[in-house]
Symmetry: C6
Subunit: 90 residues, 6 copies
């Protein structure tokens, strides 16, 4: 078992679902944006399954301008994929 899989299993009996709803298709751009944010967060959750540690780290990045910008970059990349999947909701 990979280190990644084992760390996911530490979190709970049920593994973390990395793509909520198991679909990239959303009704609106707003829903697509929310999905991008969730997918970005779920990778962090899978990599660091300990909720207490994540809460501590959240206090760090929420006060750090450089990290907030980096979060924005990751969400932008996830959103690009989701937008293409939805043909840009045209």
């Amino acid at each position: 078992m990979s280190e990644y899989a084992s760390s996911m299993n530490e979190a709970a009996a049920a593994p973390i679902q990395l793509v909520p709803g198991n679909s990239l298709i959303t009704k609106t751009p707003e829903d697509g944006r929310l999905l991008a944010v969730k997918m970005a967060r779920l990778i962090i959750k899978a990599t660091q399954p300990d909720a207490a540690v994540r809460e501590k780290l959240r206090a760090v990045y929420a006060e750090d301008a450089a990290m907030l910008i980096a979060i924005g970059q990751t969400v932008a990349t996830e959103f690009a994929t989701i937008s293409a999947a939805n043909n840009y909701w045209k």
Copy 2:
């Protein structure tokens, strides 16, 4: 409720809208660029809903060359998506 959702709700009774107008379609490239900037900023706002903290962080990144460049990178990524959505306004 996820940490992300709860932090959004701290900001106000109404959640933050992450895609203004709930559409990626704009009349012109200039409007698309402004949307890219807004969308990048709204992710920061959703992650750090405290306006006073954001104002403090703004003073940090506005004087930091590396962070200004990183903001540009994020806007460029958002703009790539918006440009594709608008078929590059051709």
Copy 3:
């Protein structure tokens, strides 16, 4: 008014135009490259409208190898969009 909009208005009565000519279409790849550079710089200008501060920061990044590389990354991302808009000038 958003913080971003208000900071743009500090700079001048007329807001900064973020896409010169309000078009991504250029005659040549060279012109497209120049547009990519300008668009990257205009995001920095909009985020930090004080010319004196920008001039001070310029002295920092022009002597910093890591920041020069990061500027190149941002220009590359803008240029990807402009190139697609122009069907790669084929």
Copy 4:
């Protein structure tokens, strides 16, 4: 032999497979996301084949907000490719 190839061979007689199943095609977005995570991890494994060192580094990045965000950025980029390969599971 390149340095990269030789470091892979230190790990084991059999080289590391970098694309599990030698295919980008998956049944679902969730499976595609898991593949993105695995492919990102396998590059790290190939670059640092010593499991004990990787385990030590894991303790570092799992407690570092900036690195967790950076991992998310890499997974997002891998997932963009896998999503396109699967026509976004439409």
Copy 5:
């Protein structure tokens, strides 16, 4: 005149050409890769037109693993554009 334009003019009477040959079309992938490297370097040259400073900075990044990796990221992004322009030389 923008700061960027004026800094380019310091370098020489003739402005720097940012896209050698003013075309993204190349005969082979190898030529495309060389063009990607050149275009990445020319942005640095335009931003820092002083050859003596660039030479000093080169000594810095050529011995810095993180910066060498970052250069690779920028070249990869430029190459993605050039590859698409050439329909991947298929």
Copy 6:
């Protein structure tokens, strides 16, 4: 002669080939992934042609979590291009 070209020529009489086989087309995703790794490494080699320095830097990045993640990001970007070139091996 550009600084880049001259540094390549220091390494050997024959210049470094940046795209092995001068083609982005591979038989399988696994082969494409190996090509992405090689292309990423060859940019580092061309920028730092001294094998002894590269070996010293390798010892640095192989023990640095942030740099390993950054290498993964670069490989992911190269792989995106190679995957598109091969129509995702569909």
